[in-house]
């Protein structure tokens, strides 16, 4: 199913007139978080959740975009809690922060409570919300805009 959805996006992107930026947005369903953890098996990573309607999220996206420009291998997964219907708008925003070419997801289902629960049952939906996953995928969560210092606590190379 996911492959089909991704293929559909690729076709849409090809057909869209004026579509110039990379399109790496994937559909986030209730199985996707397990897939993301599998992708980072044994490795630490940062998960950042945002939405189009969240002003503080832009501050965090700007910081994350700058980090990815300096360190393209920085282990980051960005998830928009907007529905895929708003994909073009999300893509424009990601592109403006130089994040469009990196791994990114959008909620595939309006039943947002279930998708939020699949990531963290204790998360109330406030944004931005971020998670630091250690090698063993034990994690710490944070609500509100991330600072470079907070990121540096988990990834000291960022502060070097």
């Amino acid at each position: 199913m996911l492959k089909f959805v991704k293929a559909a996006f690729a076709v849409t992107a090809l057909l869209s007139v004026g579509q110039v930026h990379a399109d790496n947005i994937q559909a986030f369903d209730s199985q996707s978080f397990a897939q993301i953890k599998e992708e980072f098996a044994g490795k630490p990573f940062v998960l950042s959740l945002w939405s189009i309607d969240c002003a503080p999220c832009r501050v965090e996206l700007k910081l994350l975009g700058e980090i990815k420009q300096q360190q393209p291998d920085f282990p980051l997964v960005v998830i928009s809690t907007d529905l895929l219907d708003d994909r073009e708008e999300a893509l424009d925003i990601l592109d403006s922060y130089n994040l469009a070419e990196f791994e990114s997801w959008m909620f595939a289902d309006a039943f947002v409570e279930r998708l939020r629960f699949s990531i963290d049952p204790l998360w109330h939906g406030e944004l931005p919300r971020s998670y630091f996953f250690a090698h063993d995928h034990s994690f710490e969560s944070h609500s509100g805009v991330l600072s470079e210092q907070q990121l540096g606590k988990y990834f000291p190379q960022l502060l070097e």
Binding site: D53, C54, D109, F111, V112, F117, P121, W123, H124, S143
Partner: protein, 425 residues
């Protein structure tokens, strides 16, 4: 009801058409109205009438009100238009929806930001909504009204008077007993002006305007408060016959997002402003989680319900606020279960009701609890509905007949039911 209005207009317009095409159109309308009556949710409607069917079951974030004759009016957003429809059988069937804005606009429709509908005792239908104007949190406060029983609506007008391309969003609409129409919203004009001076401005501001002629004209815009949260609905309740009290999420000490209350007059005077909740929610983020407030039995007291994830309180809370002493009492942790949120209150006679959403890991639970002593004690929480699909925030609507649940769900369509008659499902 669809047949009466739809066919009268249709007959006039199509008088010169061939009898065959008239008959065909009449038949399709009659069939459509009969089938609409039986549809339960949007999927069923779309299967029958195609993807473009306009219906409260398919539209986004409906709001409802009931007029003195018991007719239910709903407004909703679909495909960049605000629509209004009515029901004479308490939500079983609906009239054909009337389009409010002829020109498409990006009317917001989500749990915190929905079109609002208010009915006057003389029959006006008054609407407000927020139209998004960019991806950068800008918007306009829009207003339209009907004086002919919902057949036609005035061309939408913009109520924020600053002419700035900035944030004007999260509108609320309230009509007092004396006929003062209050329109409140979250506004970023002061933030823009402050940032232009290279100074910081946490959050946004609360503004309002008042109409004393049922929306024909509005006052200037008045500021209530600087430094509100940017992304939560504002709750409005009456204060005397002319004024309103509003409850909103305010930023304290640059970082704490708790709630403030104030009384607004039609002339722009703001009084009684105070902190109404102390949860100490230190967060530099958008909670997207506004409060609910209704008048208590004492005219200077309010029932409040809200969500916080603060250091002091985490979850849904209830308290009664007293304007005279500027204090909250009867604080109650309603539901601290993860996933609980979006409470709505209504008071009818001496019964106070509260609904909210919970999530048990698989299903959304629509929960209810009741108080018969002005919030002193409450019944245990019960599940009214369970749903394993998407749903809107629930709203309670107080009418002359009783309290109704107004709730859009993907599974059951749009639900408008008197709480007393809801069968648990």
């Amino acid at each position: 009801m669809l047949r009466i209005h739809g066919l009268a207009a249709l007959t006039m317009r199509t008088f010169l058409m061939t009898s065959k095409s008239i008959a065909s159109l009449l038949l399709s309308l009659i069939v459509a109205s009969m089938q609409l009556a039986h549809a339960e949710n949007c999927d069923e409607l779309q299967n029958q009438f195609g993807e473009d069917v306009i219906s409260v079951h398919c539209g986004g974030a409906p709001s409802a009100a009931v007029d003195a004759d018991g007719r239910l009016w709903v407004t909703f957003v679909q495909d960049k238009h605000v629509y209004v429809a009515y029901s004479d059988d308490q939500g079983s069937t609906y009239s054909q929806a009337v389009r409010v804005n002829d020109e498409p606009e990006d009317a917001e429709f989500n749990g915190e930001n929905r079109p609002k509908i208010v009915l006057s005792s003389r029959g006006d239908i008054l609407l407000s909504w927020t139209t998004k104007t960019s991806s950068n949190f800008t918007g306009l406060i829009r207003f339209s009204r009907s004086e002919d029983g919902g057949k036609h609506f005035t061309k939408p007008q913009t109520i924020n008077d600053d002419g700035l391309h900035t944030g004007h969003r999260f509108d609320s609409l309230y009509l007092t007993q004396s006929g003062n129409l209050y329109l409140t919203w979250i506004d970023k004009r002061d933030m823009e002006a402050t940032l232009a001076r290279d100074e910081s401005y946490p959050g946004a501001a609360i503004y309002y305007a008042v109409s004393k002629d049922y929306g024909k004209t509005f006052s200037d815009n008045y500021r209530v408060s600087h430094n509100s949260c940017e992304c939560c609905r504002i709750a409005v309740a009456p204060q005397g016959s002319d004024n309103v009290a509003i409850l909103w999420r305010q930023i304290y000490d640059s970082q704490i997002r708790d709630h403030a209350i104030a009384v607004l007059s039609p002339e722009g005077q703001v009084s009684g402003m105070d902190r109404a909740t102390v949860d100490d929610w230190y967060i530099d983020a958008c909670p997207h989680h506004g409060p609910s407030m209704v008048l208590a039995q004492n005219d200077d007291q309010y029932h409040m319900s809200w969500f916080s994830a603060g250091n002091i309180h985490k979850g849904i809370y209830y308290a009664r606020y007293d304007l005279g002493s500027a204090t909250s009492s009867h604080l109650l942790e309603v539901d601290a279960t993860p996933g609980a949120g979006h409470p709505s209150l209504a008071m009818h006679g001496s019964e106070l009701k509260m609904v909210w959403k919970g999530f048990n890991g698989v299903q959304t639970q629509l929960k209810i609890m009741r108080s018969h002593d002005d919030g002193e004690t409450w019944s245990a929480a019960e599940d009214l509905y369970l749903s394993d699909q998407a749903s809107d925030h629930p709203l309670l609507i107080n009418t002359d007949q009783g309290v109704y649940l107004s709730w859009w769900t993907a599974q059951y369509g749009y639900i408008f039911k008197e709480i007393a008659n809801v069968e648990v499902r």
